[in-house]
């Protein structure tokens, strides 16, 4: 036993001097270089795994029960993560594979799991997605699900789309993409009717933890009198009221609407990177026009979204939206001095980061350290060209496949005024002594931020208010008496 091998040592506390030395050392350029030299160890990653994203989609359809094929622990982690972020229930079940599953495969677990889940929770659909385990042992879900229906564990007609979502590949946004594609494939199979057009817009929000954003998209469509189907609509599911009755299925995209979406007048995805394969599928299978737009952060990207809607549906831009635009611009001109020239560190999912950068540049702020923790060169190029589009992007740097421990080194060696990202950034922000503006997913240490949109003209005002007023709080709280003032 290895304990025997080694000689017994004495418990020895680390000398204070040594602690002081290292405490300073981790804030140095030298440390930063060692830190950036890492090739194997990942510390404080800013991304999660595929099945989490798959569950976001799987839960976003009416009467749909997400079903995890794999270890039960994964399912519990996903559910907890959503519940902490939204402060809402997050139903999902699983087939609890264990050792024997590893040996004989997970088919029996799947059979039993589907049967029980269907009997207990009476779902209209059970999207299945996988954890590492079945992916490693190579379960054949096509066959399994076919067999489950043949053997009568679940009705033939029950939609059971599935997605392979190995955690050792991509991030949660790719799981989102895979699951959404699979659900749409399943629900729209044989629904396409030559020449038929529902006249509706299909709108895909992408992986977005902010239900306020989803509602903002819908509100804008309503204002423009454009009939729509939001594909994977989590808003009512993850932001449901408290009226004394728990509803397992609190909303989501109607399955009929999803099925009919194939005959839509147009389809818009508002997240490029989280819907790549879904949009490939839609491109080939769906009727109508297709457009992939950036999330409408800030004024110009919102303009673009609205103009695209107007163009696709030949609708005028309503007075209401013109007024909202003017109000947003008014707020931005009035408050520009509180953000102008300020440096920010930004991290998160690529589509979010694109949006946040656009907003900052519009305000004359500098997205100084931009970090996406798993991304392709393509993402990097897009972010860099966005920065190059404005003088306020000069001297700003994009980092991909880096984590929040890298970010920490950036913040302490090349300081900024604030950081924008999800709750996971709070440790780095604290060490750097700067505020963290919580935008993204997950936010598990503040309330209601997921309800307040960051997109659209409203979102621009919300972001501006959050950032400007926090800077003013800091000024009032940290200034000496002689600089404390009534007006700011």
């Amino acid at each position: 036993m290895s304990a025997a091998e080694a000689a017994v040592k004495l418990v020895t506390p680390t000398p204070e001097k040594e602690i002081e030395r290292v405490k300073e050392w981790i804030n140095t350029e030298e440390y930063k270089e060692k830190n950036f030299a890492r090739t194997a160890l990942v510390i404080n990653p800013a991304h999660a795994c595929q099945p989490l994203g798959a569950q976001m989609v799987a839960t976003s359809f009416e009467g749909s029960l997400p079903f995890v094929h794999g270890s039960q622990g994964c399912a519990s982690y996903f559910r907890s993560t959503f519940s902490r972020h939204y402060r809402e229930p997050a139903a999902a079940t699983c087939d609890a594979m264990t050792e024997d599953g590893a040996v004989f495969g997970g088919q029996n677990n799947l059979f039993e799991g589907l049967e029980n889940a269907y009997a207990l929770y009476k779902p209209k659909m059970m999207p299945v997605y996988t954890t590492c385990m079945p992916e490693v042992i190579g379960d054949d879900l096509t066959a399994f699900i076919k067999n489950a229906k043949q053997k009568g564990h679940v009705p033939e007609e029950l939609p059971i789309p599935y997605a392979n979502t190995p955690s050792f590949n991509g991030t949660h946004i790719h799981g989102y993409d895979a699951m959404l594609k699979s659900i749409l494939e399943d629900l729209t199979r044989d629904q396409g009717v030559e020449g038929k057009c529902t006249g509706k817009l299909n709108i895909i929000p992408g992986f977005d933890g902010n239900v306020g954003n989803l509602r903002e998209y819908k509100r804008i469509c309503d204002l423009m009198e454009i009939p729509y189907t939001m594909l994977a609509d989590a808003s009512d599911i993850f932001d449901s009221g408290c009226d004394g009755e728990y509803k397992l299925y609190a909303g989501g995209t109607k399955l009929e609407d999803a099925a009919e979406s194939i005959n839509g007048k147009a389809t818009i995805s508002l997240q490029k990177f989280s819907t790549v394969n879904t949009m490939k599928f839609i491109e080939t299978e769906y009727t109508g026009e297709k457009a992939v737009l950036p999330m409408p952060f800030g004024v110009r990207k919102t303009d673009a979204f609205i103009l695209k809607l107007a163009e696709l549906f030949d609708k005028p831009v309503p007075e209401e939206l013109k007024k909202e635009r003017a109000l947003a611009v008014d707020a931005m001109t009035d408050a520009h001095q509180y953000l102008h020239g300020k440096k920010f560190a930004v991290f998160g999912d690529p589509d979010y980061v694109v949006g946040i950068i656009s907003f900052l540049l519009e305000m004359g702020a500098r997205p100084y350290h931009v970090l996406v923790s798993r991304a392709t060169k393509k993402v990097k190029k897009e972010l860099e060209s966005l920065l190059e589009s404005s003088t306020f992007g000069e001297g700003c740097t994009v980092y991909i496949n880096k984590d929040l421990w890298h970010m920490r080194s950036l913040l302490v060696t090349d300081p900024v005024d604030g950081m924008i990202g999800d709750t996971h950034g709070k440790w780095a922000a604290r060490d750097a002594g700067i505020p963290l503006f919580r935008v993204g997913f997950p936010i598990i240490d503040r309330v209601n931020l997921h309800r307040s949109p960051v997109v659209g003209y409203t979102g621009a005002i919300n972001l501006l208010t959050m950032i400007a007023n926090k800077f003013l709080d800091i000024k009032d709280e940290t200034c000496e008496d002689q600089w404390f003032e009534m007006m700011r």
Binding site: H47, A92, E245
Partner: protein, 480 residues
């Protein structure tokens, strides 16, 4: 300890009918599997009839986690001066990063590591194996965190499936670093719950840590170790001072705010005091066999149990300690009476249902009762027979006992028993709050705490009162 008075309205018939009605809505096979896990309490029977520690029934929406969760989240994570590597894909480490509230002292990134270290497996690591990456990342960790007292490697599912040999790697690195480098094969697919993760971790500690260090100072007659307190919301910081106040010498804590060298030297203490029996009884038994260290279970929830426990501890020491015990009890009694005087009038006669991990449902009963709250139902996510045996005497006759209860079942039970409070986890919280039922997370103390010790009871009482008596519940019913 006297048997509880029966609770008004709780009868064997009602409880068994409730169970039967619930099972009736399940597929036969599932019902058959679940039936043994549900029962009416028999405080006096030798053995609890409720079965436990069995596989989750697929599809029923269990609240259970996995072995990795039990190992990383519960046992290892709280050891503050080690770098704990979540070895495998990115997810497990991210989801368990900072979500258990095992607080720790130290300077983050310097002397403590409340961070997420992972090998973030990619396809190639699955195909070619993760050992080379593991070796590399340990080198990187050792360079970037020179003051880390050691490293733990916690395997996630793929590692065990692709035939990696992490033990070989850790053994090699331990030599190289001349620091503890500990393997823990806690793949999530192993066993039926977090519980096996505890056991596997205990074994790793047994095999790779315990006995490797000794305390510089001479052993003393009052040296004890505090086992199975994970410092959730600061519990250890509220419990340890009490033991010190009665004159004991707490040499190490397992593992809340823990220091690995002290843990490794625990074999020299005179007594192991264990709070969470479920997750660490293995180690106590090991140290008892191997080093002849006796161990004692204690309960620091609520004044009644604290006093019982202190006296029991005193019995294992001399008069000096026993005197101190009575002094301490006397000293805090007044404070505790004030707390009870403030909150009990608002809580007396209320009922609560509990569903937590492997210890708290039975351990917190006394604290609720100190406030006048009756427990009408209790169960565990991952407890074993011995836990249930310890539970039944703490519960009133015919109250509902449920093991690994599914969301479906718990909803039915709560609907019928209409408790004034449900104490369980984050996944259950909002389900019941939507129904207008006050709820407290009893894994994480709902972002509050500590709940252990005298300090903890003040917080516990305040929180339970806040949950049950928040005026916001009165807003749930709409006039339209």
């Amino acid at each position: 300890m006297a048997e509880r008075k029966p609770i008004k309205g709780i009868t064997k018939e009602r409880t068994e009918k409730l169970i039967a009605d619930t099972l009736a809505e399940m597929p036969e096979k599932a019902a058959k599997k679940r039936a043994p896990h549900l029962g009416a309490n028999e405080p006096t029977s030798a053995k609890c009839a409720v079965k436990s520690n069995k596989k989750v029934v697929p599809g029923v929406m269990s609240q259970r986690g996995c072995a990795y969760a039990g190992a990383k989240g519960v046992v290892w994570g709280p050891i503050r001066d080690m770098v704990h590597v979540s070895h495998g894909p990115v997810g497990c480490g991210v989801y368990s990063w900072g979500t258990r509230r095992n607080l720790m002292q130290g300077i983050p990134g310097v002397t403590s590591f409340p961070m997420d270290f992972t090998s973030d497996f990619q396809e190639r690591d699955i195909v070619y194996g993760g050992d080379p990456k593991l070796e590399k990342l340990l080198d990187e960790a050792n360079e970037l965190f020179p003051l880390a007292k050691g490293f733990s490697v916690l395997s996630e599912c793929p590692v065990g499936l692709i035939g990696d040999d992490i033990n070989a790697v850790t053994k090699k690195k331990e030599k190289e670093f001349d620091k503890l480098v500990v393997p823990c094969n806690c793949e999530g697919f192993r066993g039926v719950s977090q519980s096996l993760g505890h056991h596997i971790s205990n074994d790793s500690i047994r095999d790779f840590i315990i006995g490797k260090f000794e305390f510089a100072e001479e052993p003393g007659p009052y040296d004890v170790a505090l086992i199975g307190d994970y410092n959730i919301g600061g519990d250890v910081w509220a419990a340890k001072p009490i033991l010190e106040e009665i004159g004991l010498n707490v040499k190490s804590v397992w593992t809340g705010d823990g220091e690995v060298e002290k843990i490794a030297a625990t074999h020299t203490v005179k007594l192991n005091l264990i709070h969470c029996y479920r997750s660490m009884n293995y180690m106590c038994k090991v140290m008892e066999e191997k080093y002849g260290i006796p161990w004692l279970e204690y309960n620091f929830f609520g004044p009644t149990k604290i006093e019982e426990s202190l006296r029991a501890i005193g019995e294992l020491f001399d008069d000096k300690i026993r005197k101190n015990v009575e002094k301490v009890i006397k000293k805090y009694r007044k404070e505790m009476d004030e707390v009870i005087a403030e909150y009990k009038p608002r809580l007396d006669g209320k009922t609560a249902m509990l569903f937590v991990g492997g210890l708290r449902p039975r351990h917190t009963v006394g604290a609720y009762e100190d406030l006048g709250i009756l427990i009408t139902g209790a169960g565990y996510e991952f407890a074993h027979q011995d836990d249930y045996d310890r539970t039944q005497p703490e519960m009133a006759k015919d109250t509902l006992i449920y093991d690994d209860v599914s969301e479906f079942e718990l909803e039915k039970f709560v609907e019928e028993l209409k408790p004034d409070l449900v104490g369980s986890g984050i996944k259950e919280k909002y389900v019941f709050q939507k129904a207008g039922i006050p709820f407290r997370q009893m894994h994480s103390w709902d972002y509050s705490g500590p709940y252990h010790g005298y300090e903890g009871f003040k917080v516990f009482a305040r929180d339970i009162d806040m949950a049950i008596n928040s005026p916001t519940w009165g807003l749930v019913e709409s006039p339209f």
